[in-house]
């Protein structure tokens, strides 16, 4: 069509401009939502019982002090952590530090600024999740498409039954069963942790089980999603047209149908952005894998407010960015949405 020619004659910058303004608008609209989330997080975290300053005191250090010395010490710690100010003041200080200065506070559990520790945890969660998601996508897309093409045949029915079993399996139960099988009975893999103190085992041994749990629990819902999307597309008129033109079935499925079935799959990637960096509290707890979920879990037991606030805000931000990613993904793959929105 002529439309194509006009678009083709544009420079790259001209083509990219609408996207940039759209993304900019969406990012700006994030700010009020993010502020609301930060307020909720702050209120919730500060409702938790217990005094963070008292929790941080080193009993050995304070035991030798006189009462007066101890009080002075507590007061200085309180001032250092910023707890000498009012609740309202602290909220705004937290906002300023987090958003403007990029300082996430001081962890009472690690006795270090949160900035120094959080990166490593995020990286480890990301590593295990990206491997898991790669396998989950690599398996589910062909399986889902085949099931949709062979709808109501034996293969499809088997996939349907297996995927219902899959979405019903609680991840912690799967994890425990895997441990029983591979660690206790077969003794192939180590129980938990991140690295072997004796250095006998390579690191990937410790990744196998967490990755397997992630693949097993996410595979089923992915397959169902891909299958449903593909079935929808296969019923569309243009697929009938393609078949009526006399195209080979393979071309119809892989060129005409599959590309459009990918559109809903883009949504899935967006929905998984938070999990990708955030990790899973339960799986990481069972395998004692030191990722974000593990950090969060520890932060709860130590009532480590700075870590909790940062981690929760990070999760919230990721979810919001995931939503934007979904919209942009739709724009990129679906010309109807692109034309409608960008103008």
């Amino acid at each position: 069509m002529d439309n194509k020619d006009i678009r083709g004659s544009k420079t790259f910058l001209e083509k990219a401009m609408p996207y940039v303004t759209y993304i900019g608008k969406r990012l700006l609209s994030l700010i009020p939502v993010l502020l609301l989330i930060s307020l909720l997080i702050y209120v919730l975290i500060n409702l938790m019982p217990g005094d963070p300053v008292m929790a941080m005191l080193d009993p050995e250090k304070t035991a030798a002090m006189t009462i007066e010395e101890r009080n002075n010490y507590v007061e200085s710690m309180r001032a250092f952590l910023g707890y000498d100010k009012s609740y309202v003041e602290r909220y705004f200080i937290w906002l300023r530090d987090t958003f403007l200065e990029g300082e996430f506070g001081y962890s009472i559990r690690f006795n270090k600024p949160v900035n120094e520790i959080i990166g490593a945890y995020i990286a480890r969660s990301f590593k295990v999740n990206i491997i898991g998601f790669f396998f989950a996508f690599a398996i589910s897309i062909p399986v889902g498409i085949t099931a949709a093409v062979k709808k109501n045949k034996f293969f499809d029915k088997m996939v349907t039954v297996l995927s219902i079993i899959g979405i019903s399996l609680p991840s912690f139960f799967v994890a425990l069963l895997l441990i029983l099988l591979f660690v206790v009975h077969l003794k192939w893999l180590p129980f938990s942790g991140m690295s072997d103190p004796k250095g006998i085992r390579p690191e990937w041994h410790y990744l196998v089980l967490p990755v397997t749990v992630i693949v097993m629990t996410s595979l089923a819902s992915l397959v169902r999603y891909v299958r449903a999307a593909m079935i929808d597309v296969l019923q569309a008129d243009y697929v009938r047209t393609a078949r009526a033109k006399g195209l080979a079935e393979k071309v119809v499925i892989y060129r005409h149908a599959f590309q459009n079935a990918l559109i809903p799959v883009v949504t899935l990637i967006g929905m998984w952005i938070p999990a990708l960096f955030g990790g899973s509290i339960v799986v990481e707890k069972i395998f004692a894998y030191p990722g974000m979920g593990y950090l969060l879990n520890q932060a709860y037991s130590f009532k480590d407010r700075a870590v909790l606030q940062t981690a929760l805000l990070f999760f919230g931000l990721l979810t919001l960015l995931g939503n934007i990613f979904i919209d942009i993904g739709y724009m990129a793959v679906d010309p109807r949405i692109r034309e409608g929105k960008v103008k």
């Binding site: 909720l40 979405i167 609680p170 139960f173 029983l180 206790v184 709860y300 999760f315 979810t319």
Partner: protein, 333 residues
């Protein structure tokens, strides 16, 4: 065969026109997987309820210990074995479902009510109300659920069990309505443009009745399907929370908490498998039965979905058998 397909199991003389509900029931009943799920669900629910009534009537003491029979493997006397305090696991597993049922049911009712209300208001009125509700949904949706539930449960950690159960129901109910609200809103947006709503407006029917009597019944089937999924996910979430020791705690058993004990130390995980395999299996079977029912309902409310009734299946089987016999007879001759 074609005759039975047209008349859906009724004889020709009846000339019955099936209502949509009847069609849904027939479709659901003819789905073997869904019926399996339905019976499994009924069985588990009734066993759990009967156990709960029994333990309440007999005042069964869940904290009673007996050191002489601790950590016994499954036997006839203790079908699921005993735990490290010498408590009978079978009672604890069956009673553990009670909490899940309560949390699942109450929070689903709450989530569906809020979701239906918010969704229909947003969809019917549109405009400012719609955009405010959608913003609220976005905020709630962008909250990491487990982390939020985690935080709130941690806040209420020192409170008694009933309070925490109530809190968990509230959390699940207040968070899980967003998906349903979006669904209902989308449907409402398209339904309100249709002519029957124009007719209700022309007739001067009150707005409330337009929504309650004319719009909501049209989305109800979809809501039921979505509610089954909410129910399953609420039960799963409750078990996550008890697994992390944030739900109801000892001596009241829950499936998640029973599993958590296995994970907390490797001895029980390795040696005393019966302590955690049974509650885990029960949890899995229960969630699976709900999902099967939900899947069956989803197919049943889809007017385009094809199905085979029991009679047709039998007829086909008989047909195939007859064919085989005919072939065999031919081959024999």
């Amino acid at each position: 065969m074609s005759e039975t397909k047209e008349t859906k199991g009724f004889s020709k003389e009846d000339e019955v026109i099936l209502s949509p509900t009847q069609q849904i029931i027939i479709k659901f009943k003819s789905n073997r997987l869904a019926m399996f799920g339905f019976w499994l669900f009924t069985a588990i629910v009734s066993i759990v309820v009967v156990t709960h009534i029994w333990t309440t009537v007999t005042n069964y003491d869940f904290s009673a210990t007996d050191a002489s029979i601790k950590n016994l493997p499954p036997s006839w006397e203790h079908p699921f074995g005993t735990d490290k305090y010498g408590r009978n696991t079978v009672i604890r597993v069956l009673e553990g479902g009670w909490i899940s049922l309560q949390v699942g049911f109450l929070s689903t009712v709450m989530a569906v009510t809020i979701g239906l209300f918010m969704g229909s208001i947003a969809g019917y009125f549109g405009g400012k109300i719609d955009s405010i509700i959608m913003r609220v949904i976005e905020v709630i949706y962008s909250f990491p659920f487990l982390a939020l539930a985690f935080t709130i449960s941690a806040v209420f950690r020192d409170k008694p069990a009933e309070t925490r159960l109530f809190v968990i129901v509230m959390i699940l109910g207040l968070i899980r309505w967003t998906g349903l609200a979006r669904l209902v809103r989308g449907q409402m947006l398209s339904l309100r443009e249709q002519e029957f709503i124009l007719a209700t407006k022309a007739l001067g029917i009150k707005r409330r009745n337009q929504i309650m009597r004319h719009l909501i019944p049209n989305v109800l089937a979809m809501v039921v399907v979505s509610a089954t999924l909410t129910f399953a996910s609420a039960i799963l979430s409750e078990s996550f929370l008890s697994f992390l020791n944030l739900s109801v705690t000892e001596p009241i058993p829950t499936w998640g908490a029973l599993l958590a004990k296995a994970a907390s130390n490797s001895t029980s995980l390795r040696k005393f498998w019966w302590i955690w395999v049974f509650p885990g299996t029960m949890l899995f079977l229960f969630i699976m039965s709900i999902n099967l029912v939900g899947e069956g309902l989803r197919e049943a409310i889809d007017p385009k979905a094809q199905y085979i009734t029991k009679e047709q299946r039998k007829a086909r089987k008989a047909e195939r058998k007859a064919e085989k016999q005919a072939k065999a007879a031919k081959g024999g001759v």
